[in-house]
Amino acid sequence: MALFRKKKKRAMILGLDGVPIGLIERLMDAGVMPAFRDLSQKGTLQSMKASLPEISAVSWTDFMTGTQSGEHGIFGFTDFRDGSYELKFPNFSDVKSRTLWDKLGDQGKRSIVVNQPSTYPARPIPGCLISGFVAINIKKSVHPLTLLRRVVEEGYSIDIPTMQCRNDHDLLMRELDETLKGRQRVVDWLWEDQDWDLFELVITGTDRLQHFVWNSVEDPSHPLHQEAMDYYANIDRLIGQLIERFVEGPGGDLSRIFLLSDHGFCAIEQEVRLNAWLEQEGYLRFLTDEPKELTDVDPQSKAFFLDPARLYINRKGRFEKGTVEEEEAEAVLEELTEGLTSLDHNGNRVVRFTLKGMEVYAGPHADRAPDLILTSHRGYDLKGTVKEKSVFGKTDLEGMHSWDDAFFWSLRPKIEDLKISDLSDIIMAELV
């Protein structure tokens, strides 16, 4: 009866965290990414919009659930505890929508997912999951736990040691290399050891490299330029190997390969500390001269920002100590929108556009949305720190996220106005 058995379909997803389409194109042109060059000639490499705000916590959650924050409930790396100015760090159990892997499980399909950001602590999925950023403990990053011993034995690292690598770029390059090799060893093992229908790997080292030494990527005279190029070449080699293995393996077909990034990237010209601007304009005050957190906010304040650019009006009904009445809130929001839109730095506008939370998000959790979301012009890195007093400034970080230049590759024709939340349905349609 084997002759009549339906051939099993498999799919593969490869994610490159934070890699913008423009960089992919430059690296292909420079001969650094020949496997990608080959792909771009066979299929469609196109730009894609990340989530709002354009950060991994939200964008990857949009990707894996096929929804947006109003439905899945994740608005950032941080959120307010209910009614309080105290921060919490949402985790995988706060994701209130089913994932692509859960939905595939309904169809009897198993997914192997390696280094997926925003899935920590790992919970059971139909298949295997190794959580990515912000995973901190490998024991809570692996499902099923029976995989843990081998994952550890393979020298798998969840992430590079970010604190040390931020200041030691030689260490950064070594750690990026080692972490990539560890991921590949685990991928090679799971690929053969497990029964699967969908295999997904996310490489997050790209985002780390670009935050810490974006200039090494862009500037050929930078002392680490060659090492940065070697890193992308190694990633390209891995992509090439996986594609070859997938297409030649059972159920593999180029039409079921998908590559993506979760947001774009560009150089930081200036950090823009939005809470310092609110303070300067009289909308925000603190109970101490050296505030550390928003818990230090004076309840008489009108508004404040959470990273990276989420504005909240200090509404009476929303925050226990909120003081802005509902009838006043709309006027405050309008004033602030106008002021922020006209904020400039050396004659250049900082804010590209603003959107009200209720315009961006819909769904059962939309009431937790910020009042306003800002997106900046390239180079202006919007921040919600409360520790800085000057609106503009710089740190040692060189790269920042950008919104509408993530990439997507597939064999499908170009899709207009593609958003990362569209991909889940596209992938499901090819596999089910």
Partner: protein, 165 residues
């Protein structure tokens, strides 16, 4: 993960088999490599409990988890099986139903006793799995999704390193 043999014993072979299937299902969900030996599979080829133990031992030493529910009514046989296999767990499924001519001898020291007269099969299954976890044969399945203060400090630091907060 290292192999072991779970042998579900008790006066009712059909109850033993049903419980063994339930445990197998959960272990498969956890990604464990499992072989179940029951009357319908190995029982067609091997009649004695010693024969089943021989196969279970081969699987166990090759790091497969083996769940047996073939009859092992005699205490002396079970002791021999335990000695042969080494990594051996006995689950005694107490039942009011006895089947066939088998005269079942109650075990002296089973690792877990399931009272199928008082408990549901699911409760018995959970008890067996918990026992396997406590004995260290399988990793604990408790899903802890709460961050401790220490966890939060580490996450905060990681986010600061990357300029996210």
């Amino acid at each position: 993960m290292r192999g072991f043999t779970l042998w579900v014993i008790g006066p009712s072979v059909s109850n033993n088999e049903s419980l063994a299937r339930a445990v197998e299902g959960d272990l498969l969900e956890r990604g464990v490599r499992v072989e179940r030996l029951d009357a319908g599979s190995i029982g067609s080829f091997v009649e004695s409990s010693q024969g089943v133990a021989f196969v279970a031992n081969l699987l166990t030493r090759n790091d497969v988890v083996c769940i047996c529910s073939t009859p092992a009514p005699k205490s002396a046989e079970r002791q021999a099986n335990r000695k042969l296999i080494g990594r051996y767990v006995e689950a005694y499924a107490k039942s009011s139903e006895a089947e066939g001519e088998i005269s079942f001898e109650e075990p002296d020291k089973p690792e877990v006793v399931c009272d199928l007269i008082q408990e549901s099969e699911e409760e018995s299954m959970t008890q067996i799995l918990k026992t396997l976890e406590i004995l260290g044969f399988i990793p604990p399945s408790d899903f802890d999704d709460e961050y401790s203060d220490e966890d939060e400090d580490k996450i905060r630091q990681r986010l600061q390193d990357l300029g996210y907060i």
